[in-house]
């Protein structure tokens, strides 16, 4: 019986973790002022911007390519990276913890700072529309 509660909690967490890209974008948007709408256009501009902070990873496209519906390649190790766009990879933007982890790492590395929630909302919106 002692194990039932942790198991139930685990099951709940597992269930709660699965979201759609739309829910994840909306979750970020909800932290903004009323009237904020995630913008695929702004997200696309951000995706293509050359930040130039990291020598080998100046922009998102350094690893994810200009065509995020296609496979990418890690700019340092050369390992294949599955497509970032949900149209080509249904697992993308479905696990909020995973999404946050990668935003945290890659924003610091590529952008040189944490990304704002508005930028994250736009970024997800852009990739959701990418075909």
């Amino acid at each position: 019986m002692k194990h039932v509660i942790p198991l139930a909690l685990l099951a709940t967490c597992g269930f709660a973790a699965a979201e759609t890209p739309r829910q994840i974008a909306d979750g970020y948007a909800a932290t903004q002022a009323a009237g904020f709408q995630p913008s695929a256009q702004r997200g696309g501009e951000f995706y293509s911007r050359k930040f130039g902070v990291s020598e080998k990873m100046p922009a998102c496209a350094a690893c994810h390519t200009e065509q995020p519906a296609q496979s990418g390649r890690h700019a340092i190790t050369g390992k294949d990276i599955k497509p970032l766009a949900p149209v080509a990879n249904a697992d993308r933007f479905t696990d909020p913890a995973k999404v946050e982890k990668w935003f945290t790492r890659n924003c610091k590395e590529v952008v040189g700072r944490e990304c704002s929630t508005a930028e994250k909302a736009d970024f997800v919106a852009f990739l959701m529309e990418k075909r």
Binding site: E55, M57, H74, K79, R105, K108
Partner: protein, 158 residues
């Protein structure tokens, strides 16, 4: 004496097998493969020493030119696992600082027949990209029979 002979024999038998088959040890925490296998192969822990792994896991914010930060509750079990299964002796010598398993004497010896053109091939990109030539690396298999080098180079047996 018998014990020594047995150890030597075991060493002789196990060495080539160990080199060909390096599956991820069964006591790996669930996060190991996801966290250490996204940007590169989830490397076999036996290829670096315990001190090397401590150094790697103690500096994840500056991880070979990338940010690989983990929260502590994920990082700690991975570090413990790597140290538990770390290698020792000749296999891990020469890794340097920061430790690179591709710099060890053992790794260099194993790859001394690989032509320079293969290392420079765009399909390879870096020596850490095991799967470029070892198609079953992810399954822990590095058998010479399986080697497929880009550019059609063939592995010549000794």
């Amino acid at each position: 004496m018998q014990r020594t002979l047995a150890l030597v024999a075991m060493g002789l038998i196990s060495f080539p097998a160990l080199a060909d088959r390096m599956p991820i040890p069964a006591d790996a925490p669930p996060a190991f493969k996801a966290e250490c296998g996204s940007c590169h192969l989830a490397f076999p822990p036996a290829l670096l020493s315990a001190d090397d792994w401590r150094r790697v896991m103690g500096g994840l914010d500056k991880h070979y030119g990338d940010n690989a930060t983990l929260d502590e509750k994920t990082r700690r079990p991975i570090e413990d696992f790597l140290i538990r299964n770390a290698g020792s002796g000749r296999r891990t010598m020469g890794a340097g600082v920061p430790p690179r398993l591709t710099f060890t004497d053992w790794f260099r010896h194993k790859h001394d027949e690989v032509p320079a053109a293969v290392w420079k091939d765009k399909q390879v990109g870096s020596a850490a990209n095991c799967a470029a030539c070892h198609p079953r690396a992810e399954a822990g298999s590095f058998s010479e029979r399986e080697i497929r080098m880009p550019g059609g180079y063939r592995h010549e047996h000794d």
